[in-house]
């Protein structure tokens, strides 16, 4: 079928292009749908289910991020059932992982009235420490919500390095290298594209991690300057995050048509020389 389609989102007709997802339709209709594992630049993983909505005629809720909207679909995003699912998913995540560096999720928890305290107290089992096995980025599995974004960015969706995977299954599932070897011993090329897509700070560039530990990370005091990477001729846009006159992090905009948010090790991490001499190094 070609031509535009019309769906109904919370009672309002929305016209969409063929191939558009329910999420696209909701956004086109100005309806906010929370997402976690979804990212525009990646294949939907269908894992978090936070974007679940009700579709008339469907026995279960439907993930908005991946389901293609069909002509005439009747979509409801604010029913008790939908709100319940989202609240429970947020509570489940908050009980299982540390969301302190995931402000969007904390905000969503307030919106949906999530109360993780009703699952009883912490069982006291040791939570994993952050893994610092290289100078460029840190993995804190206690903050990992298993959204699959990093695995996809490392693999088919961007980098094609395949250094990380989901290992084990069920509640034991975790992001890992082969035989859990340290990153420098794995296939990792330290592009940091996994860090760029991580929604919870489970992957963090080491400068940010160290500054957070030291209590000196002040995002509100940072400026972000867009420039073009000078290392080669590809033309990647860089967003240079600066605090107190020093570069603290480099990212790339997801909507940039050259990078789609991705960089290489040089663009993302090759800026420490900028302050050489200034800091007395």
């Amino acid at each position: 079928m070609t031509g535009r389609r019309t769906v109904e989102v919370d009672g309002t007709a929305v016209a969409i292009e063929p191939g558009a997802t329910i999420l696209d339709a909701c956004r086109a209709g100005g309806v906010d749908v929370p997402t976690l594992c979804y990212l525009e630049t990646l294949t939907p993983a269908n894992a978090c289910r936070l974007c679940s909505v009700e579709v008339e005629g469907s026995r279960t809720l439907v993930p908005a991020c991946s389901r293609i909207a069909e002509d005439g679909m009747v979509i409801r995003t604010a029913t008790d059932r939908v709100r319940h699912a989202r609240r429970m998913i947020l509570e489940f995540l908050a009980v299982a992982v540390d969301l302190t560096t995931a402000p969007e999720l904390l905000e969503a928890m307030a919106v949906y009235g999530a109360d993780p305290s009703r699952y009883g107290t912490d069982d006291g089992s040791p939570r994993p420490d952050a893994v610092v096995d290289n100078d460029l980025y840190v993995r804190d599995l206690d903050k990992c919500v298993l959204c699959y974004r990093c695995v996809e960015a490392c693999g088919d969706d961007a980098q094609h390095t395949y250094a990380i995977t989901i290992a084990d299954r069920g509640a034991a599932a975790r992001v890992a290298t082969e035989f859990d070897v340290a990153l420098p011993d794995s296939a990792c090329v330290f592009c940091g594209n996994c860090v760029a897509v991580c929604p919870t700070g489970a992957l963090m560039v080491k400068t940010e991690f160290d500054m957070r530990v030291a209590g000196t990370w002040h995002e509100e005091a940072q400026t972000v300057t867009r420039t073009v990477c000078g290392y080669c001729g590809v033309g990647c846009n860089l967003d240079v995050h600066v605090q107190d006159g020093a570069i603290v992090k480099v990212t790339s905009p997801f909507d940039h048509d050259v990078t789609a948010g991705n960089l290489c090790i040089k663009g993302r991490f090759g800026w420490t020389h900028v302050r050489a001499g200034v800091d007395g190094a």
Binding site: P44, N46, A47, C48, R49, L50, S52, T60, L61, P63, S66, R67, R81, H84, A85, M88, I89, F92, L93, V95, A96, R118, Y119, G120, D123, V145, L146, G155, Y162, A163, I164, T165, I166, A167, D168, R169, G170, A171, A172, A173, A176, T177, E178, F179, S186, A187
Partner: protein
Amino acid sequence: MAAATVDERRAVDRILGPPTTGWEGGERRRVDGHVATGGHAARARRHLLLPVLHALQDDIGGISDGALGYVCERLTIPPAEAYGVATFYGLLSVSEVSPTVIHLCDDIVCRTSGAKELFTALADAIGPEGSSDGTRTWHRSNCLGQCDAAPAAFVQEAGVGRRVVVRADLDRLAAGPIDGRDPAYAAIGDAVLTARFGAPDPADLDAYRAVGGYRGLRRALEVGPDAVIAIVEAAGLRGRGGAAFPTGRKWRAVADEEATERYVVCNADESEPGTFKDRMLMERDPFSVVEGLTIAGHATGATKGFIYVRGEYPDAEDRLRAAIAAAEAAGYLGDDVLGSGFPFRIEVRRGAGAYICGEETALFESIEGRRGEPRAKPPYPTTVGLFGRPTAVNNVETLAAAVAIVAEVPGAADTKLFCVSGDVDAAGVVEAPFGVTVRELLTVAGSSHPPQAVLFGGAAGRFLAPAEWDVPLGYGPPSPPMGSGAVVAFGPGVDMDDIVQRIAEFFRDESCGQCVPCREGTVRQDETLRRLVAGADERGLLDEIAQVMRDASICGLGQTAAEAVSSAIALGLVGGAR
């Protein structure tokens, strides 16, 4: 990373053949410096990953980093991905290499039939679960599908083979393969699916033909695919695996797809606790499964069929392989089935210890050499299935029933296998017409006292109120959902708190971990249920957990993971008199 040992390479090469170039782990040749292998040709071999990992587990007793590295070289798979696959499956070990691994069932039937005592004995003999005495290690296992002869164990012996030990005790665990157990089955009314269960040699093709075998396929080839589908539709055959989808409609959907390649898959990954009918069919009547898949292939236009058989079913797998070989030799499979011009071949694939792989799309992922994580539906398998092609997936019993229906066996459309086990005198498969009641099934199996609880349809099924024991069983109300057709009876002495907790533990163990509602929900359900049993009123929270799992999980596992627990609470079976 260590290099693979000679034995490890031999195990891998047993499946893949010797390496031909330096690129895949062989000798480096001069030309390798100029010509690389890779691309589509290499990626197309990804589906061999699980068979190769099985070979290592079978021959060596585990998968070392060196062995996995060699596998990855051979198949051009990133080591991390192969590690992710190997760690997904319960029967593959990357953490230990042990000559003998004993998986002792402690699921709902076995734990009321002596399994707990056996744990103590094993712990005394070998050490705590997971430890090794140098040659043996042991683990607790979810249901092994041997509930008719509980308690059961599944033993992997490196370089020797795999064996099932029923009515297990320490002596029988230590012994070699034990032959012969009488299949336990009975029929209420006409025996259709169980008619050949008493055959002296189930792998004897002539004997199969002598009692009507391959009449169905002959008729199918005569009347043509359209007519076969119409026959199956008219008979109202529904999937016997649990989802009860109309089989004819599924076949028609695949047949109607425009594709050059399509597949039929027999889902023989029977893992629902309390269920063993498919195993019995494969062990006692393997040709009916082979014939059924051939008919399905013919009806849908597929030329290749797969049987994905549970890894804990070595006898069923052997029987199927023997039956396929015999059928090929006699022209029932091959380039020109019975001279009709229809080419069809069947390949057996072995599961590796994951309940979730009974979910059809997880099963595809597993055959394709990936972690058994279900796919989002739609697209449905009839459109995008195995290797991205239209695929019809049918349960073992469904295929056997289809054979009988196409062969016009009287009563074929109106018969179902039930697995009756637990606190009964004679656990076994009971074949009965629709409309039979749970009470009648229990009567056939014999019981000196009425049970305090009956679980119907497996762990994904429901505990039935006594009034429901007299409801005629079928598809749709007033019958409770058929599920796998398992009927597990719990006698007056059984600790139901323990049983219901074990069911919650089962789902916690078997969740693939992909989606949040199921991965976290099954854990929270388990914990919250423990608090309820300990006296807290957690019914409200358990209801809420159940609802999000049912509403928002990707697949049927998460969607049904709270059914049994919820029904037990509703019936007051758990947590005292609350």
